[in-house]
Amino acid sequence: MAKLNKDSLKTLSYITYFIILFVFWFILSGYLKSLLLFFGLVSVLFVFWMSYRAKALEEDSLPLKIILRLPFYWIWLFKEIFKSGITTTALIWNGKYSPQLISVKASQKNRTGIANYANAITLTPGTVTIEVDKKTFLVHALSKKLSEDLQTDDMNKVITDLDK
């Protein structure tokens, strides 16, 4: 992947985007008749043209490298959500919460990675990203344990590795 030059990488990302759009259309409709498939192709082409015009197909917004790793990342993320969800549920029921603000450093290189990390923090129950500076987040955590979990930096490492 690293040897491809910029143009072929761009073409590859266009093709991937097109395939993803068409698969998405097929999942939502489920039709197999050729006429309807043709209509699907037309609508997919229309959406493709729209996103091309909106310059949504730059390399930063469609990172090809991480697409294959995404399913594993989602499974890992679900595990994290489950763990901290149990902790948060216990905190709600027994009332031993002690909310606190902490700042967390992010080591991702590009904007997608940083947005991804901030989203992952908010998605795990018990921690919410309030403010994003360039490389530091202001995070509100529901208890000391949850904030310490975040400060072990595991999540940061996983999301940084996603983009390697």
């Binding site: 993320l77 969800g85 709600i92 031993k96 909310p99 908010t122 403010e131």
Partner: protein
């Protein structure tokens, strides 16, 4: 016979999802300030809806329908943090201070 097992599994998953939604709603009332309440709402968004969709997938069997059902949590993964972050940021910018220690 196996049909019964499937119903039982989806029933258990539904119960777990309902439990998380109940806890989230309780937290929404019980927790002290805006920032903490967002955590409770996040609990409903992720685990509550996640388990209920999982139960529906188990119940309906694997087909095109379950792929459609899988798209719901996929969209929630992207949208729910954005709403949570928007509320938190707005509360922060308009000067709300998070409450500190839990009163014992």
């Amino acid at each position: 016979m196996s049909h019964n097992y499937i119903e039982l599994i989806s029933l258990v998953l539904l119960a777990i999802g309902c439990f998380f939604i109940l806890s989230g709603s309780l937290g929404l009332i019980k927790l002290p300030d805006v920032f903490s309440r967002i955590h409770a709402a996040g609990l409903i968004d992720t685990l509550g809806s996640g388990f209920i969709v999982l139960a529906l997938i188990v119940y309906s069997g694997f087909s095109l329908l379950s792929l459609k059902l899988l798209l719901i949590p996929l969209f929630l993964i992207f949208t729910s943090p954005v709403t949570g972050h928007a509320i938190a940021l707005f509360a922060h910018e308009s000067g709300y201070k998070p409450k500190g220690k839990n009163k014992k």
